[in-house]
């Protein structure tokens, strides 16, 4: 009797140990194999390039061509630049021009190059209770939302879209965070999540066109304002300065930024999304100047 119990208990322990061993062994090669340091590139980017699926289309091509392995960390542009500032990323693909200029002035980055643009649009409930349709400029549309106290969802995460939004509020002469009533809410999340919240709460929000196009089928939030030159959304690629951070993979970063502005990549960007959404999500700009965009 005692012997049998002992045998059972050994069996169950043995079985569990085996289970652990299998999972452990199976992981070992994948998890513990040290890759050569130079092979990895950390790309810090915005959520829009990942959520729209563009990077899923481009990165496998780059990895195949060059043999580098790209670790894409999709965060807001603000956090992406914060990672660059600490030397924790090798290359950035961001869309927050004002913050990028500060980043460059502080010698955090080198080799900032224009990659592509699309535009921001203001979306909101189909009934448009604030009546922003027909506004001539985006600050005017924002003022109407503020004056009627309609719900506005802000990213609130220091992303490129958030800093664009703050710029528009500034142009409208209003600081929404100081408003007493609750019409201005911050999600603190990515563009996709914020659009979902806006759709659920029937609020207005500022979004890049790419993410909106990718999500629109489930949203029910039409574009109510577009075409204002202020609403241009411009993406740059920046190498993190290796002189400041010696651990940065400078050749890898350079290879990636060269890849982003190469003619072959630019032509992929040009047609990306046409088959799925009927119109391109981004417009390639590598051979242009920022001043000429949107003309």
């Amino acid at each position: 009797m005692k012997l049998k119990k002992l045998a059972t208990c050994f069996r169950c322990l043995g079985f569990f140990a085996l289970l652990c061993l299998i999972t452990g062994l199976a992981t070992a090669p994948a998890a513990f194999a040290a890759e050569p340091a130079q092979k990895n590139i950390i790309l810090a980017t915005t959520t829009s390039t990942q959520d729209s699926g563009l990077l899923d289309a481009l990165i496998p091509i780059f990895e195949k061509e060059t043999g580098y392995f790209v670790k894409t960390i999709a965060v807001g542009s603000g956090q992406a630049m914060a990672m660059g500032e600490k030397g924790e990323a090798d290359v950035l693909l961001v869309h927050s021009p004002a913050a990028e200029k500060k980043f460059m002035e502080a010698q955090n980055g080198i080799n900032r190059r224009l990659v592509m643009h699309n535009d921001f649009v203001i979306v909101g409930p189909p009934a448009d209770p604030a009546g922003i349709k027909g506004s001539k400029t985006s600050p005017e549309a924002f003022m109407k939302i503020a004056n009627t106290g309609n719900l506005f969802l802000s990213r609130g995460d220091n992303s490129g879209t958030h800093s664009k939004e703050k710029g528009i509020w500034k142009a409208a002469g209003l600081n929404p965070e100081e408003q007493p009533s609750k019409w201005y809410q911050q999600t603190g999340q990515g563009m996709g999540q914020t659009l979902n919240v806006a759709a659920e709460k029937l609020g207005y929000t500022l979004t890049d066109r790419g993410t909106w196009l990718a999500l629109q089928k489930n949203l029910g939030l039409p574009i109510l304002m577009e075409g204002d030159p202020l609403l241009l959304n411009i993406y740059h690629v920046i190498d993190v300065n290796p002189a400041k951070w010696p651990k940065v993979n400078a050749p890898g970063a350079r290879a990636f930024s060269d890849f982003m502005v190469s003619p072959a990549t630019q032509s992929i960007i040009k047609t990306f999304g046409v088959d799925k959404y009927g119109s391109p999500l981004f417009f390639p700009d590598a051979d242009k100047k920022v001043e000429d965009l949107g003309k």
Partner: protein
């Protein structure tokens, strides 16, 4: 409702068609959380046993710390592990940030106190005279520990289930230290967050269903082992 149904159908379709990406993500989740549970099992059971069986100054404090650790928020663990693993951080030379290894590390940190806490309680619940009896029969200290662990195996399996369940479902630390990199460090929970962000709710629901199924199967297996003999 329609959406949930669609999601579940999608989950079945993804599983039946053996979608390589989804299978890869599922296998990786299992590997990462399984390895982390294994590490936590060794650390947690030994810590729990030692603390349960020995008396030393500050023991009550240690027990309180372990019990607090059972509720360690994954995002806090994620944040600190990230800071430590940064290239220019104290453990940067390891170069493991944004790898599956980093997720294993973070998850082991989350699960160890859970397993320690439950082991501690299990060991303290054993009859006090059992120790004396084992020692009286001439066992060495190591043999005694081993026998006591065997005696407490039922609650210890519960500890394993609690630890594994806590980390397979965890997203905050995994996304911070793993980076949700496609085909490399993307696990079921981080993929679910991303697909929700992309508005692909059907895929998100499908991934959730697979996660639930996986958690159920593992727990079912462990419960079978645990309940094989009638508790005394």
């Amino acid at each position: 409702m329609e959406l949930i149904l669609e999601g579940i159908l999608k989950a079945i379709a993804l599983l039946v068609s053996l979608d390589p990406e989804v299978l890869g993500i599922t296998a990786l989740s299992l590997k990462i959380s399984g390895t982390a549970t294994l590490i936590s099992l060794f650390l947690g059971v030994s810590t729990g046993t030692v603390v349960a069986l020995t008396r030393f100054p500050g023991r009550k404090l240690v027990v309180s710390l372990i019990n607090t650790g059972m509720g360690l928020p994954p995002v806090v663990v994620g944040l600190f592990v990230t800071i430590f693993l940064w290239r220019n951080g104290p453990l940067g030379f390891l170069q493991i940030l944004y790898t599956p290894t980093a997720i294993i590390l973070a998850q082991a940190i989350i699960a160890t106190p859970i397993i320690s806490g439950i082991s501690l309680a299990a060991m303290q619940n054993l009859p006090a005279n059992l120790r004396l009896q084992i020692l009286a029969l001439g066992a060495t200290r190591i043999q005694m520990f081993w026998l006591l662990i065997r005696e407490a195996r039922l609650p210890l399996l519960a500890a394993v289930m609690a630890g594994f369940g806590g980390i397979i479902s965890e997203v905050g630390a995994s996304i911070m230290v793993g980076g949700n990199i496609k085909g490399y460090s993307r696990v079921l929970t981080t993929a679910t967050v991303m697909e929700t962000g992309r508005g692909n709710f059907d895929v998100a629901i499908a991934l959730s269903a697979i996660l639930l199924l996986l958690a159920f199967l593992i727990n079912f297996l462990l419960t079978r082992i645990q309940q094989r003999e009638r508790p005394r």
